[in-house]
Symmetry: C2
Subunit: 344 residues, 2 copies
């Protein structure tokens, strides 16, 4: 059975979407619903596209996908470069697949636009996971703004869900503002930390610690085990001093080794009991609705601001008034009134 | 000398601002610069006023005050009800006055608008401080919005500085969003906590801990001393796990008793060395400019949004689209485009 189903899936996957259907919403949607990764990839490209020709099609496709979305575990993962994020996601993703889950990996890395690098751009990363047909790995979208990146990633989550993925991992870099954005689109936030002489949180921005639903101390193998255990104990007692999260969950702190496959299975157990708990209380649905409404208002603000800034005269007067504020000629509020009132 | 100067100050204060000068910017400004509390009170009333007739006068007055502002220590203080905030501020304020400082106390409490109570509305609070002519105590402004309250408080800081106050204490309740707003208008953020069986942070919102430049465990007297010291040690080690603040400052954690005047003088020493350090590095000025620019952009967004919402048709379509988003008919981003594009 399993093997037959796998074979037929492979057969479906082999039929590439025809060129004539490329821009066909119905064809993409059907491909998506059949779990075809090429259709998913195409759909995400639409979502990421700034091309005005795609807007209507994208919105149509998203509207079709919405009723089929929402069934996955949405998990944010952060940690500074060097913490072993890709290695962790590779092992973690394969363990999820072994547990019968389909796994999508998305990324938010606004810095990659500046540095022209990308946290998921390196093709050699997550090699095994990328090749597995139960997985879908997508690099960080190219966009000039954090807003653009987060919108693309958020809508990609819906597409992945409509394509039948059970776990969506949203990866971010742990040094910027993207964590707050990711926190606003996931159900669970995982912080990866490296043990080492009190420097565990080096590079991690203030505030990220308090978002974490779980902390995993990575690379807890060989000589690192003792330091990792020590860090784990310290962070556990620190987190216990924190106020409880709104959903009543107490963040867990454990050690893991992606290379030796230690702590991965038990972390999946943690996730399982977390999602059972928040599904049971209904918090997951309340929280997602709250996230949606927050995004709506944020997006309305951004749209209006963009309209305002599309007038070059307004851009110029903002720049001029910034100087006045810096020189303490005017208060920020009076300055804002002056700029906005000017607008016809 | 000191007594003469005090006498002449009292004499100036006795001459009430004439009715005819009440709405006179120059008179208010002169009163302010002479450190007259009645002029300061009047100026803050203007700032708090939603009356359109006051706008121009207020902006003129603020523009006159700006060059004389910026010389104070701006300190945010938060803690849940019951932590002993008023008692602390009373003792702390009197100690600052004894150290030669003029002290203004402002408050942000958006919840007081909802509950019709006010954290500083109770006239019996800070009795000694309120009566002292080196102090100025102002209740939380009445406004319907957090935005309105924060704007009023922020501009009141400038007025207090122009009136010669050396330390501005901005009090908030520690349970809502107002902490982030206060953090954006002060140089130093103090968190007051109560010791007690691991419940130290009960009621304090996540994220506030990481804003703190100092934590004081209050009511460390009598039988509480041991518990307070224990809590202090725990929190100190927890905070050491946190990433360092941008300005390099490591948050201090100490115990205090407002009633027995323990830990107050040493906290003033902490403040003194903090402000010496950030003045020396110049961080204080960079940070204030950054705060101003952040407020400017925030205020521009708010003004534009307000203009948009002033059209009843827009308000109506926002409400309708919220339902669509809740019912998962449309994504938040597509919804936002739809609402904003409609606007002529």
């Amino acid at each position: 059975m399993q093997s037959n189903s796998n074979n037929s899936k492979k057969a479906i996957e082999r039929i590439r979407i025809g060129r004539q259907d490329r821009d066909n919403v119905a064809a993409i949607f059907e491909g998506l619903r059949n779990g075809r990764r090429d259709a998913l990839g195409k759909a995400i490209t639409w979502v990421e596209s700034n091309n005005i020709n795609h807007f209507e099609k994208t919105e149509e496709l998203l509207a079709m996908c919405l009723p089929h979305s929402g069934k996955s575990w949405r998990i944010g993962i952060t940690g500074v470069p060097g913490v072993g994020k890709s290695t962790f996601i590779e092992t973690f993703g394969m363990a999820l697949i072994a547990a019968g889950k389909k796994v999508a990996v998305l990324a938010i890395d606004p810095s990659s636009q500046r540095s022209k690098g990308s946290i998921l751009g390196d093709k050699t990363r997550m090699d095994e996971l990328s090749k597995n047909e139960m997985a879908f790995v997508r690099p960080s979208p190219a966009s000039d703004t954090l807003g653009g990146v987060t919108r693309a990633t958020r809508e990609s989550i819906l597409l992945c869900e409509a394509a039948g993925f059970d776990v969506i991992l949203v990866e971010t870099v742990g040094v910027g503002q993207s964590e707050t954005a990711v926190n606003g689109m996931v159900d669970f936030f995982l912080l990866l930390l490296l043990a080492g002489a009190g420097d565990e949180l080096q590079g991690i921005k203030r505030g990220i610690m308090e978002m974490a639903d779980a902390v995993l101390i990575t690379k807890a193998d060989g000589e690192n085990v003792i330091a990792a255990k020590k860090a784990s104990t310290q962070i556990k007692s620190a987190l216990h001093l924190f106020p409880a999260a709104e959903n009543g969950w107490t963040p867990t702190v454990e050690i893991c080794s992606a290379i030796e496959n230690i702590g991965i299975a038990s972390f999946i157990d943690v996730l399982r009991s977390y999602f059972e708990s928040i599904t049971h209380t209904g918090w997951i649905w309340d929280n997602r609705t709250k996230q949606d409404i927050d995004w709506l208002h944020e997006a309305i603000r951004n749209e209006i601001l963009q309209q305002f800034r599309s007038n070059p005269a307004n851009l110029k007067s903002i720049a001029a008034i910034e100087e006045d504020v810096k020189n303490k000629v005017i208060t920020p509020f009076a300055a804002a009134s002056k700029v906005v009132k000017k607008d016809p």
